[in-house]
Symmetry: C2
Subunit: 403 residues, 2 copies
């Protein structure tokens, strides 16, 4: 057999499977209550709507649905998105500002491939989405972490990082941020910081990659403006997905940005997968056009809010003093902090023994910190499992408590 | 607005849209008869079968179809493929040898990303698929062209190229070949050369990337063995797609290779798009399981063979002496050669004036040669358009004839 070490590209010789991927494999046993994944609740899938829509698309438009499509995306889906972004977010975009993608992970891959050369510095939050960190690293990007607190990324620390590199004559390729119900923390960036951030982006001439998978899943409170809306200089690229507001099984998302960037990304996408599924795109277009989307989002919000409340109540009931957690206004995740003396990485195997799982906080920290933290998903498990799982987790903490 | 030249990764600063992409844009006008694309005939799409299957999948298995799936692919589809590869090709593979992809273009991207470092030499045919050359270049690969004739890639020239690099102490990352009804030439690699090629691959310890999108679309004659079948050392990676034997609109393909390579590719795919659409995968699994696939391939072969015969007859009827063309035993394309004195690149704008289009042969030549050649697609146009289009093309040649 071929000697792989001789044949692999340099970056892949050291590439490993992601921490989360390996951990998730351990949590697949049916007796384990897992808060580790990030899966939507399958009970919330719009199955009846999809059945109706698939039949309609194939009846009326099979020639477009089953054929190759334009790399940029199907015009009918882009037209629906233009309308939806205006009505929902007050964004003024044209079809030329939109690139349809094979869901958000491809959007991240596209952005990384377009901008990152080996050893380029990239700004990310502490903590940030592990799947994004993995992509940026796969192109040789070097992560620079910016501190965050209960209002999201700290703008004072961002400015320090931007200023430092500017003095050194270097340049950040982009800032990666999830402003709404962040993955992993569940925290939302405040309106004030959003305005500051867009100002800093202009001042330092740096691109913001705004990842918005959860924004529509808001349980309470009012949405701050999207960074894309606040920006007037074409510096913000926003990533959206249908995975949380429709269904992940179609693998569909979209990127909104200035036309020059979208054009460049379309050239790259062409060599990556030619086009995203026209069938899936026409189904999504009809999901939006027929008003199914609004109804479905309301249903998802109702279900996830109840589960989030359930998890918060279970945490309050079972957790020992010294453990704290975020109270997200939306999304799929919350973030749990143990005393600094404790180690969530070490506790993971103890948790598995008690048949409960989470994702270790260190996986989300580009600087290796966060070992006293963990991410808990509340969207997937049933209320009964949430209660039982949190109880088991509290038992693990109490058994292994270190002052 | 952001200064893109400062932000783009180095390889993208010089990246251009593909020649074919730009040419295809010019051929979109309804009055143009285009032999330029590579589209399946939409009249052949299995619409009724897809309607039945979509309803069945959503009725019986919506929770899997609409959810995220495993990066490696849905077990039920892989099980069907294991069976199908054994029955159709005599290949003995296990599920661990298969990676489901978002169609062949992603398979090419995966292989390129796994193996290619900037300035790595890659062996390709003269001519070869332009979309593959574009991907390999996007990772900085340097193409080395090997001559071909009516039996496909010439093994004597391949050995010369392999020997040369070996003497220089260097190593080819892989050989890229389309053995069946090649794109663009329509030529099939003979059984004897396949055996020689696998021998050379073992002798020089070099991977073969066997791209097989058209293999099932055989009109006449007997299929030589797949390179994958002839190989015993794990050096062959084979790429398959559902785009020609089912429908391109689902964006689904698969890679078959040794387990170590498939594992590595799965890690890369995870950061590229997490997984291919489980919905599309379950639909494809049922298409295979329910016996729709065999019926559909028979139908496609019948339709495309008639069109190929039609194009060959039209060429014989209209073309001036000195023009020659291949007579493919399958696939979607044939290859036309003008006298060396003539230039297909220059003639392209003349052809557009006569409302007929093709792809210039130079786009498929990594060495810039082939300017007296062109690719003609026969799968998409109706018989009437084929006849009229070939007549127009003959008119262009006669008007611009150079001895």
């Amino acid at each position: 057999m071929i000697d792989l070490t001789k044949n692999l590209a340099a970056v892949n010789r050291r590439a490993k499977s992601s921490v989360i991927r390996e951990l998730l494999k351990l949590t697949n046993k049916p007796e384990i209550i897992s808060f580790a994944g990030g899966l939507p609740d399958p009970a919330a899938f719009p199955r009846e709507a999809v059945m109706e829509i698939c039949a309609k698309v194939l009846r009326e438009n099979a020639r477009e649905a089953l054929q190759y499509g334009e790399t940029e995306g199907c015009p009918s889906l882009k037209a629906e998105l233009v309308r939806n972004l205006r009505e929902d977010e007050g964004l003024v975009v044209r079809p030329e500002n939109i690139l349809i993608t094979t869901a958000s992970q491809q959007s991240l891959d596209l952005a990384a491939k377009l901008f990152i050369d080996a050893s380029d510095p990239i700004i990310v939050e502490l903590p940030s989405y592990a799947g994004a960190l993995q992509v940026f690293k796969s192109y040789g990007g070097l992560m620079v972490g910016v501190k965050s607190d209960d209002d999201g990324m700290r703008m004072d620390d961002l400015e320090v990082k931007l200023e430092k590199l500017k003095k050194e004559g270097e340049h950040y390729k982009f800032i990666y941020i999830i402003p709404d119900f962040q993955n992993p923390s569940g925290i939302t960036l405040s309106q004030e910081r959003r305005e500051q951030m867009v100002r800093l982006s202009r001042e330092y001439d740096v691109i913001i990659l705004e990842d918005s998978p959860y924004r529509k899943i808001r349980f309470e409170g009012r949405s701050p403006d999207m960074l894309y809306k606040l920006d007037t200089s074409g510096n913000v690229i926003s990533l959206f997905t249908f995975s949380k507001t429709f269904a992940p099984g179609f693998r569909l998302g979209y990127i909104v940005g200035n036309e020059a960037i979208i054009k460049r990304m379309a050239i790259l996408k062409q060599s990556m997968d030619l086009c995203s599924s026209p069938f899936a795109q026409l189904v999504a277009a009809e999901f939006l056009r027929g008003g199914y989307y609004q109804e479905h989002v309301k249903k998802v919000v109702r279900i996830y809010k109840a589960k989030k409340d359930h998890m918060l109540a279970a945490l309050a009931r079972h957790m020992p003093e010294g453990v704290t957690w975020t109270k997200p206004e939306g999304g799929l995740f919350l973030w749990l902090r143990l005393p600094e003396t404790m180690d969530g990485d070490d506790l993971f195997s103890e948790a598995l023994k008690e048949n409960v799982a989470y994702v270790v906080g260190s996986a989300f920290h580009c600087d290796g910190a966060g070992r006293n933290t963990m991410r808990l998903n509340f969207s997937y498990s049933t209320p009964e499992k949430i209660d039982e799982g949190i109880k088991r987790l509290a038992t693990v903490f109490k058994k292994n408590w270190k002052k």
